[in-house]
Structure formats: C-alpha cells, structure tokens
Symmetry: C2
Subunit: 418 residues, 2 copies
C-alpha cells in the first residue's frame, strides 16, 4: 500500500511538472542538459562506487557475464553518457515546430503544432546508461519522465537519477520532471502501468517477457520496443561479393543488438556458390551456423535449425540459414517468422527489390545494404530512445519528434459553424 | 468457446486480407467503394426492413428516444452513407505517399513511406451508419477491419456489413477485408481486444464506460475517442458581440456532438454586461443554465452547478457557467475539468490569445472561433473516423493519413556499417 502511494505521488508530481516543462524555453532545457552532463562528470567517483555495489551483488548472485558487462560502468562509459547529454543539447527542439499549416475557405487558419506527449513511463532493464540517455531525451522533448530500472542496477540508477535531476532543477527545470522509482519490488511495474490519469505513454525497454507483461497489464498506451529477428535474403540475381560483405556485416559487426541479422535466406540458384564462401568467413569469425535440410546438404556438418530457431533473436554469434526455391518463399518466411524490425534483399533486379520493399512488412526494409543501419544516428535523427516494432504512433528508430504529439492551434476572427 | 474460435477465425482472416489490401492499387479500392455505394442503394428496402426489426425491439425494450433516433434509418440516411462512400473514393489515397526522404553521407537513400496500420478493430455503439462509414475509410486507407457494433443495431449492422463486404469482394478486394462480428454477447469485446496477434489497433467509439472497459482489458494499442467537455472563455478584452455569436453557435447549433460547448467561462470584468445578454438568447433557445455562485448572482434563478457539472459532457441543451476573476483561473479550470478536446478563447488581446493556445492542453485550441469546427471535414481532411482525445499516434480529427503507419524504405549499393 505504501509503495502504491509513493508511486502515485511521484506520478502526480511528474504530471504537474509536465505542464510547465511543455512550455519551458529551449535555452533553459539546453542549459539543464549541459548542467546534467557536468554534474555526472563531477560526481563520477560516487557513481563508480555505487556501481561497484551493484556489480559485486551481481557477481555474488551468479548472473551471467553478458549481463554483468552491461551493468558495469567505467570512466569511458560515464564519458559516453556525458557526451550523449551534450549531443542532445545540440539537437533541434521539436516542441513548437509547425508541422503543417492551412487556411480554410472561411479564413480559419489552422496550425498543426508539435507538443510533448506529457509524462513518459520508461521501464527498462540492466544498462544504467538508459537512466541518463532517456532522461536527456525526455527533457529536450518537453516530457516529464518516470524511470523504473532493473533491480540489479538499483544503486547505479539511483545515484545517476539523483545527480541529473538535482542538476536539472538547479538549472531551472520544474521539480519532479525526472522521477526515479527506488524499489526492486516487481509490484511497482504493475502500479505504474495503471496510472493512466498521470502517465501518457509507457515505453518498455527489455526482453520479451517484460514487454508481454506490460502490454497485458497496462491501461496506458504502450510503445513496444520488441525483438529484432532480422533477415537478409540473397537473391538469384545478387552480386555475390556485395552479398557476402552485407551478410558478414549484418551478423558479425555487432551481434548483440536488435538490428543484427539472425537468419540468412539464400536462393537455391546461388546457394551452391554463395554458401560455402560465406560459411568459411562466418566460421572463422566463430559464428555458429544452423541450417535447414537444403543448407545442410551444402554445408556439411552444421547443426540443424529447429522450428524455434526461425523466430529466435540470438543476439549472439549464431545464424540460422535457409535455402529457398523462390523469391516468394523468402518473403513468406520473413513475414511469418520475422519480428517486423529490419530486413534486407541483395539483388541487382530493381523490380524485385522494389517489390520486396513494399511487401515485407517491417519497420525498415533494405535493398543492397546491411540491416545494421536501423538506428536513430544512422538515419540522421540524432540520439534515439529505442526502435519501435509496432505500427502505432512511431515505427522504427524513435528520436525527439517521435516523443511528441501535436495539437491544432486555430486562429479565427469570429467564425461560427453553419 | 465457440464464440472465441469464431472471433479468432475472423481476425485471422482479416489479418490475411490486410497483407494483400496493403498493396491493392488505388483504382481497385475506389472501384470497390463505388460498388459498395451502389449495392447499398440497390438493397435499401432490405436494409430498411432489417432496421425496422431493431427499432421495434428498441421501442419494446423502452430505450430512450435519443437512442432510438440514432438507431433509425430512412432513405435520406441511407443516401448519406452512399454519398459518404462516394466521397471517400474521391479522397487522396494515403498509402505509398512519401512522407519525407533523405540521403545520408554514405549515400543510403531513406524514404519514409506511409503504409496501412494493418487490421483495425472498431467497437461502437448504436448508429448503424458507423458500419458503412468506417468500412469505407478503412478500405481506402488499406486496412482490414473488424466491426463490432452495439447489440441494439445488430440486424441493421449485419445487413449493411453483408452488402458492402460482398460488393467489395466482387470488385476485387481480398475476401475477409471487412469482418462483422455477429453477436450481442458482451464477451465478444473481451475476446477481440486480446487478439494482438491479428489486430493492430482498437478504436472504441462510444460512451466513457465502453472506453474504460476496453482500455482496461486490451492488449492491443487503443486510440480512444473520448468525451468532449469543451469550454469557451470570454476574456476581459473580448468583443462581446463576437463572443455572443461564438458562444451561441458552440452551444446551440448542434448540442448532441462532442465539439459542442459544455461550459462557459466569463471574466468578471465583463460578466455583468455579457451574461444577461447571452442568457436571454440561451433561454429562448431552451438551454438550461447551471451557474457557480458568481454567475447566479448575475443570472438570478438559474440552477446551481455541482462539482460534477464541471466535468460533464451534457450532449444536450444544458450549459454550465462560471465567472472567473482572472485569465489564469480560466486556464486552470479548463486544464482541470476539460477533456482535452476543444477549447476557445474570445479576446482582442493577441498576447493572451497566443498564451492560451500554448498552455491549454487540448487537441484543438481556438482564438475567436467556435469549438464546433473540430471536425475532419472542417479541417480539410475529408471524412473522419472520429476525434482522438489522446496524445499518442493521432490527436483530434482522424482522417485517412491518421489511419496509417509508415515504414522506412532504404536504397543502398552495398553499404555496410563501420
């Protein structure tokens, strides 16, 4: 009961702060972002000290190495957060931008103007940098934020949130604009997602289970950042050298992220030539291959892919490989097993490529390029809060404008409706 | 159990149809819309016959007159549906429109392209014309639709859906693109809103209770079309003749709709002059006035407004009236009691008007015009599916582009990420 009241109190405070933050001048927001960066820099010893407590606890609890790596902060990672805030200060303020304007026959002038969403609830796991990155993006886009991080990073998140919210307040931002929920109680998530009176949007950043849980219980609109089961389809008419570079990049350059390739589809007309070449490179790079029967007939000795493999986001040096008889079979496979994140075709056939871009129902569809480009920075948006895999509101990388709504400002001189 | 399976079967069929509908040419969609219009015209006797069954049952059940009026069809109302479909055929196809385009330093060309949302679930009450209007807008925007109307209109909705879906299919639209759930079982709503595997967005059109119920149970994103508690604030510096026209229009021209005024706020510096004039016009127009103490001190004999009145959407010839001491008090009242739909200020003070447009957090904010203009047609969008009162995805009137999402189509020539 106490937890519930504490969360409600914080959400109400955020909602109050949101009203004033929506109309805070750009200069004040930028000053606050730079002050937050400076405060992190100045307090880095305390941050590292608190982070060590989390890391030690994680080691004692026997958490896996990948998780502990994501959890661990060092000077360079604090430096990245600082740089991130400074970069957000440089980005264009989306609030107040006139999206479109029109004058009606009755002389009413209608401006469609970008405004903040209001209060964002961010529920995330493990990486402490999310606390800082998210708070910066929310502040710049005029939104108040309620942060609820993973329990294993509680001490790190707590100190980061404390430092940046104090710095923002000192720089003239409304008190309460950055709220951090200090508890490891899972019940907290359940309380947050029911507060539709105060919170406008929930953005979960984490595994499938977390997203599913939130979608089921939230009475607030959710923007899901789901998994990326990304495909590259190497067509009969592909330039195989280019295909090799694209596939290798998509799988190996950074396997632990959502826009990395998880499944390679190859047309049977080129599989005999292409697969042995690329397999050799993959095996040298320590990529484990799992194939369907046709792929295994060419690549002797690789493991068989199970039905489950086709819809698995490995986030690791593992790749499932399937040989398809037709282009249509590749498209059907992607639309069936993919997660609608990022998918690519490699072909020199323009007509087929354009068809692929239309019929593959994913946030980002590529012709002759690596799926690794699905990213706010690479798209020219600046920093991103994540990559939406749903169709409502925002799809693909979400930058500052995607954290906004709009309103219609209408100028009249006495018009009434007939 | 049977109901659940039937609904799932229909949702799966809609999902399948959506894939092909997303890439159906504009000409085919327009041909289908005109065929649907023609089929309604041709079968009007059967429609009127089925509608009579609903109307008789409603009379027997003792439903109120306003509801029976909304339920009743006649030749002219069928004519409006026919005309509506023909008008939607004339509207620009939003699908495939390039929203923006950019070329990155690495020569990747990125097109942001409008695509359908996929499958829309529309849950609505009483008016049978919603069946036809909604199906037309969904089809034109490339979305499949699952319709679940109110039980009192079951026979009318059923025949309308049957006629238009058969006509659409005959004109070349995928079978299953227009699905109607033929049951009065309330459980059906609960089943529909859990099918996130097949349905992309739920749009409830109805009373507060329905919307609340859906928000609580849906695992699918919801676009709520909530109530309109709209205000007009008559400022100290208002042109009182203009204010009179605007207020009278906003309340009386069509009181039963969501953009009609429900609360009049008047600055105390002009209340003594303005209120008696406008009250006389309102009373002649049979508007019941309910005032706060200060309003009642000027308008003797009017009923007292209760706390509940300030947040009530009357949809009727009733108006609550409050005298405020300052502009700030008016804004605070609107942001506290309003429903973030449409609110207006009448003033000749430009600075105050511009402040009002910024700080009043509503979908449409007006300076010197009637709130009755919040409407897709009046905004130049063509037909609308409704007026969103939430901030996520779409706010205010929702036309065809608002029924869409987007994707990024990316053209490369071998780019890989460094």
């Amino acid at each position: 009961m106490e937890l519930k009241e504490e969360i409600m109190r914080r959400a109400a405070a955020a909602s109050l702060a949101a009203d004033s933050l929506a109309n805070t001048p750009t200069a004040v927001k930028n000053k606050a972002l730079l002050a937050m960066a400076e405060a992190l820099q100045k307090n880095k010893d305390e941050i590292l000290f608190k982070n060590e407590i989390d890391v030690e606890a994680a080691n004692e609890a026997g958490l896996n190495q990948a998780l502990i790596d994501r959890l661990t902060l060092d000077e360079s990672r604090i430096g990245s957060m600082v740089k991130g805030l400074q970069e957000v200060a440089e980005l264009k303020d989306p609030v107040g931008e006139i999206i479109s304007t029109s004058e009606r026959p009755n002389r009413l002038k209608i401006n469609k103007v970008r405004v903040p969403l209001g209060v964002l609830g961010i529920i995330y796991e493990s990486r402490p940098n999310v606390t800082v990155d998210t708070a910066g993006l929310c502040l710049k886009s005029g939104n108040a934020v309620i942060l609820r991080g993973g329990s294993e990073a509680l001490n790190s998140n707590h100190i980061l949130a404390k430092i940046i919210s104090a710095a923002a307040y000192a720089a003239g931002i409304s008190e309460g604009a950055i709220q951090f929920i200090e508890t490891t109680d899972r019940q907290a998530v359940l309380e947050i997602v029911k507060l539709d009176k105060f919170i406008d949007v929930i953005i979960p950043r984490g595994g499938e289970e977390l997203i599913r849980f939130i979608k089921e219980h939230s009475t607030i609109p959710v923007i899901a950042h789901g998994k990326g089961v990304c495909h590259t389809y190497v067509d009969l008419e592909a330039d195989l050298k280019m295909a090799g570079e694209i596939c290798f990049n998509a799988k190996v350059q950074r396997p632990g992220v959502c826009n990395a390739m998880e499944t390679l589809l190859v047309h049977n007309g080129v599989a005999m030539e292409f697969l042995p070449q690329i397999a050799e490179r993959f095996i040298q790079a320590k990529v484990e291959l799992r194939g369907d029967d046709k792929a295994r007939a060419i690549l002797k000795g690789i493991k068989a892919a199970t039905e489950e493999d086709w819809s698995t986001e490995y986030l690791d040096l593992i790749l499932s490989v399937k040989v398809v008889d037709t282009y249509e079979e590749a498209v059907a496979h992607i639309n069936k097993y993919g997660s609608r994140h990022s998918d690519a075709i490699v072909t020199s056939n323009k007509k087929r490529a354009e068809d692929f871009l239309k019929v593959v129902d994913s946030a980002a569809v590529y012709w002759n390029a690596s799926t690794r480009f699905t990213d706010g920075g690479e798209f020219g948006m600046g920093a991103e809060i994540g990559i939406s895999t749903q169709k409502m509101h925002a799809r693909g990388p979400m930058g500052l404008p995607e954290l906004c709504s709009y309103k219609y400002e209408i100028y009249g001189n006495g018009q009434v409706r007939k």
